[in-house]
């Protein structure tokens, strides 16, 4: 099934140039250029209020741009809004189904709108409920659903017909870890079935886990773009962390590693541990051999890429307010 899409992998699903949206005095989106290839997941990462939702709403033809242009699946979002709408699906930040109706009624309604007739609409709705593990909940009002169930029924509503492109606006905001994993699995399955997914997120972890490429947005502008690897590399280094067997050897280890790798060794609070940023990770094995040659026993070591949080810090000078959001948005 995926084969049909291979040929189009090089096509651009989304192309924007100088996209602008102004609300009063506030330039919510301030000249966004994006190029999103077909296939896979493209992540738009940024803190609250960065302009992610506004961008996605313009791409989904829900909001008219004040400047610049955007083409989605080859169609202009303003001039050919209808053509765009027939090929994309949008799942908003909040449950975008009717809470008073049951999950089944919602899906049947959507199926009918998309053109399924009579019993076929019901069959399709049942199939979707089953796929998203919601058969039992199907006859209950959506307002009684948990956060995870809501996101699932929401996404189910978006694939009543197969969209070529799906917008997911913060699909896991406020979800517990288990539900978050489920949504991630669903996103991967959608991609496996040939849909291109554009998702916004304020979770670095999420972008890291799902997205093939990421645009980092801050204050309405794209401040960095690339694969997660490229973004991390743009900060320049990987981090080497070493735990020595004997705390007495730590000073010596720090000196030896600094000589071998450059940079500055940081002695951690753990009396056994030190770490340093490494410019050329390829040199690390030699440096470790050097420690052994000098009689410094190493208990553990790890070489990791810098986290996206570090990337974000390096790009914006600010930490992503992840902890804060977590606490305020997890439903009671």
């Amino acid at each position: 099934m995926g084969c049909a899409y291979v040929g189009r992998m090089s096509d651009l699903a989304i192309e924007t140039s100088g996209l602008v949206k102004v609300f009063g005095e506030h330039r919510a989106v301030d000249g966004v250029d994006l190029q999103v290839a077909s296939g896979g997941v493209y992540g738009v990462l940024g803190p609250n209020g960065a302009g992610k939702t506004t961008t996605i709403r313009m791409l989904a033809t829900l909001l008219k741009p004040d400047g610049g242009s955007a083409r989605v699946l080859g169609h202009d979002v303003v001039a050919e809004a209808g053509a765009v709408r027939s090929r994309v699906a949008m799942t908003g930040q909040f449950a975008s189904l009717d809470e008073d109706l049951t999950g089944l009624e919602n899906l049947v309604m959507l199926a009918k709108l998309y053109g399924y007739r009579g019993a076929a609409a019901r069959t399709r709705a049942d199939q979707l409920l089953d796929a998203f593990d919601l058969t039992e909940a199907g006859t209950k009002q959506v307002k009684s659903y948990s956060g995870g169930m809501r996101r699932r029924i929401d996404i189910a509503g978006s694939i009543v017909v197969r969209p070529d492109l799906m917008f997911l606006d913060e699909p896991t905001t406020g979800l517990d870890p288990r539900s978050r994993n489920q949504v991630w699995d669903i996103v991967r399955a959608l991609v496996g079935a040939g849909t291109t997914v554009l998702l916004t997120t304020q979770y670095l972890d999420e972008a890291d886990q799902l997205a093939d490429r990421i645009a980092v947005i801050d204050r309405g502008k794209v401040i960095a773009e690339g694969t997660t690897g490229e973004l991390k590399a743009s900060v320049g280094t990987g981090a080497l962390r070493v735990r020595v067997a004997d705390p007495a050897d730590r000073e010596q280890a720090a000196t030896l590693l600094t000589e071998a790798l450059g940079g500055e060794a940081v002695l951690e609070r753990d009396p056994y541990a030190l770490s340093l940023n490494v410019a050329s990770p390829a040199e690390v094995p030699t440096a470790l051999v050097r420690l052994r040659d000098h009689g410094v026993d190493v208990a553990e070591f790890s070489l990791g890429q810098p986290s996206l949080d570090e990337v974000f810090l390096a790009l914006t000078g600010e930490h992503v307010a992840e902890v804060e959001t977590d606490e305020s948005e997890v439903p009671a």
Binding site: K64, A89, Q93, L97, L113, F132, I159, D185
Partner: protein
């Protein structure tokens, strides 16, 4: 990037879900979305389903008028009209109008809620005729007005009301009322689109509806009011509507007020219809 998880009951469960989701996406048919009429009717059906699931929205607006009817008839009826039975003949058409006009504001509440909950975004991103959401909601509302009318008529008939105009008079009266309320709903769709929260919608509609329904001839005849107030009450569209509805239910139709109601309705749709559609298309 991806880590291989060790096989566990959870991972088989995940694999099953993965397969089902892929199957569900893959088996989607590419169909022609429905036309404007069908989509409007689908949204009308949605409005009916909402009544089924949230019958309170009908109860809220009918209990209050029922209490009003009983209270006014039995407490003030004798004083106002000489006897309770004489008063109920006068009051029923008025209370019918008041009730249904009051319910119209729920149109604004529904639309505002849809915007707030994201339903609006979802529907506007569908490849169907966008205004069908509005049209469907209004058609659904009209059905709700009909139900409320039936409730009021049943209650008043239980306590002794017998419409002199007979079934035909009552049907024509209700039809006229529905035309007027459908037209008034367009004001509410506009408000629902423009105001920030359902609470502010409630506040604004109460501010409009209370004076409109009370500064009228719903409960008492205009002649009993002070002279300075009479011209105001006479020009209140609700008074004109009550007069028209009353005349039909009495079986002595006032052509003049019926015509005026139809003209007012036409103006409301002509003004607020386009305004609503414009606000809807531009809604950010």
């Amino acid at each position: 990037m991806t880590t291989q998880s060790t096989p566990s009951p959870q991972s088989t469960e995940r694999a099953a879900m993965d397969a089902k989701v892929r199957e569900a996406v893959g088996s989607a048919e590419q169909l022609q979305p429905v036309g404007p009429l069908s989509s409007s009717l689908i949204f009308t059906h949605r409005a009916l389903l909402k009544i089924k699931h949230v019958p309170e929205q009908l109860l809220d607006v009918t209990m209050f008028p029922i209490l009003f009817t009983l209270m006014f008839t039995y407490i003030f009826g004798g004083a106002i009209a000489g006897s309770t039975s004489a008063y109920i003949d006068y009051l029923t058409p008025g209370i019918l109008v008041q009730t249904v006009v009051m319910i119209t504001m729920y149109t604004a509440m529904t639309i505002n809620n849809d915007i707030k909950k994201g339903v609006f975004d979802r529907i506007r991103s569908l490849p169907v005729w966008r205004p069908s959401l509005m049209v469907g909601a209004l058609l659904g509302d009209t059905l709700r007005y009909t139900m409320a009318s039936v409730v009021i008529l049943v209650v008043t008939m239980l306590i002794g009301y017998r419409p002199p105009g007979g079934a035909v008079g009552v049907l024509l009266a209700v039809a006229l009322l529905l035309v007027f309320c459908f037209s008034v709903s367009w004001i509410w769709t506009l408000l629902g689109l423009k105001l920030r929260s359902p609470e502010s919608v409630m506040g604004v509609s109460m501010m409009v509806l209370f004076p409109l329904t009370f500064l009228s001839n719903v409960f008492v005849q205009i002649e009993t009011m002070p002279g300075w107030l009479q011209p105001v009450v006479e020009r209140n569209p609700v008074s004109i509507l009550v007069d028209a509805v009353r005349s039909l239910m009495v079986g002595d139709p006032h052509g003049g007020s019926i015509l005026q109601v139809l003209i007012i309705s036409g103006i409301l749709v002509a003004v607020f219809g386009p305004l609503t559609m414009r606000a809807y298309a531009r809604k950010s």
